[in-house]
């Protein structure tokens, strides 16, 4: 009697969660998989008989067919790769550094600083993006600071030049060597692949590092505070200096957290959307286009829902791969 009651209650209690997650998370994935195989243009239902079934065409247009769709998609992948390559290491290093400083026992006012560093993480990404639009504006704070040290700051959100191209320019390489500009892979020339993040993308990178470091700092801090004090004391008695302590005692013990922060960073950076939407819409010259924003734009602006959904799925696979990497790395930790 009691177990029957419990079974009924149990199912009733989880019913809202199961229903809503099922209808708005799982069902949509199946529906989108279908749409990604069609040429649906947004008119009527995508499940009518008149909607053209195109099989894998939406996917091949992203990977194997010459044309604008592949060029845009690969450009967005390139942009996101540079974005990941800069954001993940910088936010991790900054978070770790801040956590180590905030964790020092002799400092006063630590909770104030902790709060200050974490505050940007809890505020609205849209509101913050508006603030950074102003900070990186032509007559904004960053350029005012640069002018203070005699540098003529760039027009941040109009500057599509890549950092690597700019670096090469300083050593006199200002156009692509023939070998790089005439050959390429996946619809972009090697020269295009090797552009580096654009100046505009750097402003977005600065914003994202600024908003996420606080959260990751808290994760490092939680791990640091769980570290047994005896270990540190023992190393002090052994005569280790602070650099040696950091290198041989603290960092090895932080390894699991470091993996966590790195993989969460990898998962998060492939999803950048809000900031792109508010600050640049993929401009200038498509150098801030990311797969997440491209999939949105393709579907809701160009009404190519099939291709938009296909881009979503490719992105989905990238992120699932990162998630599996995370699970795998953290499992290693548990078994060892």
């Amino acid at each position: 009697m009691r177990t029957r009651n419990e079974t009924l209650a149990g199912w009733l209690f989880v019913a809202p969660v199961v229903l809503i997650l099922g209808v708005f998370l799982l069902l949509p994935i199946v529906m989108a998989l279908w749409v990604s195989l069609t040429g649906w243009n947004g008119q009527g239902s995508p499940f009518r008989s008149g909607v053209p079934f195109v099989g894998g065409d939406n996917y091949t247009s992203l990977f194997t067919e010459d044309g604008l769709p592949r060029q845009d998609f690969m450009t967005s992948i390139r942009n996101n790769l540079y974005y990941v390559a800069l954001v993940v290491p910088v936010q991790t290093a900054l978070a770790l550094g801040l956590a180590l400083v905030v964790n020092q026992r002799m400092l006063k006012g630590k909770s104030f600083f902790r709060t200050a560093f974490y505050f940007p993480s809890v505020t609205s990404s849209v509101a913050i993006s508006v603030v950074f639009l102003f900070i990186f504006a032509n007559s904004g704070a960053v350029n005012a600071l640069l002018a203070g040290v005699g540098i003529d700051g760039p027009v941040w959100f109009d500057d599509s030049r890549g950092l690597i191209h700019l670096l090469l320019d300083t050593v006199g390489v200002n156009s692509a060597p023939g070998a790089l500009s005439n050959h390429g892979v996946l619809g972009l020339t090697w020269w295009d692949w090797l552009s580096g993040p654009s100046v505009a993308m750097c402003a977005i990178i600065a914003l994202v590092v600024w908003t996420t470091s606080g959260t990751f700092m808290l994760m490092f801090l939680a791990a640091l505070q769980q570290m047994p004090q005896q270990v540190e004391e023992a190393s002090l008695i052994d005569g280790a200096n602070s650099w040696q302590r950091l290198r041989y005692v603290t960092l090895p013990m932080l390894r699991p957290t470091l993996f966590l922060v790195l993989t969460l960073g990898l998962i998060g950076t492939w999803q950048v959307f809000d900031q792109i939407y508010v600050m640049s819409q993929g401009n200038p010259a498509k150098t801030t286009l990311t797969p997440a924003f491209l999939s949105y734009r393709t579907a809701f602006k160009d009404f190519e829902y099939g291709r938009g959904a296909a881009i979503s799925f490719v992105l989905f696979l990238i992120i699932v791969a990162m998630t599996l990497l995370q699970r795998w790395l953290l499992r290693e930790r548990r078994s060892s």
Binding site: I20, L21, S45, F113, A116, T123, L218
Partner: protein, 278 residues
């Protein structure tokens, strides 16, 4: 030993103060420039003091934009979402932690799996479902799809598992129904977890942007982040009007900022708990 300690302290404070400026000064800039005139904002973007102090930006926010409408929508959506999430997540968390029923493990595994589904790849799929169900462009579309969240269920389940079972057993023996036991015995004991979940839900709902982008297109249904994004990229996109934009962003940030200052330890708990779910 002593002088080195002093040097360490000095270096430590210097780093902290430098980064505190980096992390907080943008907010100072935002605050100051929303009270500046446009030429002043363009000429002295770094100055923390408006000269002269101008309320023109704020006047235009309330007279020239739909800000009051967005604010109302945000309040409505946030309140319903927060109440809904706290109720449904704790209900499910309780069942998964304490009730024995067939399928429990499978559902929990499903909740964990769903947490890993990245939100941005669901934009098109969510639009498809809302369209199919005929609720696109309605308050229902803004609220229903995100009124439960898997991470909240997880947090509540973890908490309920840490609560001793003796109290609820007594209630059960007295003949209280399962819901009664949950509602009047277990829930009051779960206050710390409920506060954490309430605050995280409030913050998440208040700031929610991508979902609103695919759920509605009617300007009458815009919430604050959506209205703000529209303000920046839409009609005012080309002009500067920074005092106006910064002021609107400031007003959108204030509620979360107040909640953060009062309840920061619950935010911290949420951030570190969320990390352990992996």
């Amino acid at each position: 030993m002593k002088p080195r300690g002093l040097v360490n302290t000095f270096v430590g404070y210097s780093i902290l103060i430098f980064f505190a400026l980096v992390f907080l000064y943008p907010f100072v800039i935002q605050l100051a420039n929303s009270f500046k005139t446009e030429p002043d904002a363009a000429d002295n973007p770094l100055s923390p003091v408006p000269n002269p102090v101008s309320f023109a930006g704020f006047e235009r926010i309330f007279e020239g934009t739909n800000f009051p409408l967005w604010l109302g929508n945000s309040l409505l959506v946030t309140v319903v979402l927060t109440v809904g999430r706290v109720f449904f997540d704790s209900l499910a968390g309780y069942a998964l932690a304490r009730l024995r029923f067939g399928g429990r493990r499978a559902i929990f595994a499903g909740v964990i799996a769903v947490m890993a589904v990245p939100g941005v790849v669901l934009l098109i799929p969510k639009f498809l479902v809302l369209n199919q169900l005929g609720i696109y462009d309605s308050y229902t579309a803004l609220i229903l799809p995100i009124i439960v969240d898997a991470a909240g269920v997880f947090i509540m389940k973890q908490f309920f598992e840490s609560v001793p079972a003796s109290m609820e057993e007594a209630a059960r023996i007295d003949g209280a129904s399962v819901f009664r036991t949950y509602w009047s015995v277990v829930l009051p004991m779960a206050r710390p977890a409920l506060i954490t979940l309430t605050i995280l839900s409030f913050q998440g709902s208040w700031n929610e942007f991508p979902h609103t982008l695919v759920a509605v297109q009617d300007p009458d249904l815009f919430t604050l982040p959506r209205g703000l994004a529209d303000l920046v990229s839409g009609s005012l996109g080309t002009g500067t009007q920074y005092p106006l934009k910064l002021g609107a962003a400031l007003l959108a940030t204030i509620p979360v900022a107040i909640i953060f200052v009062i309840f920061q330890r619950y935010f911290v708990r949420g951030a570190t708990e969320g990390a352990e779910k992996g």
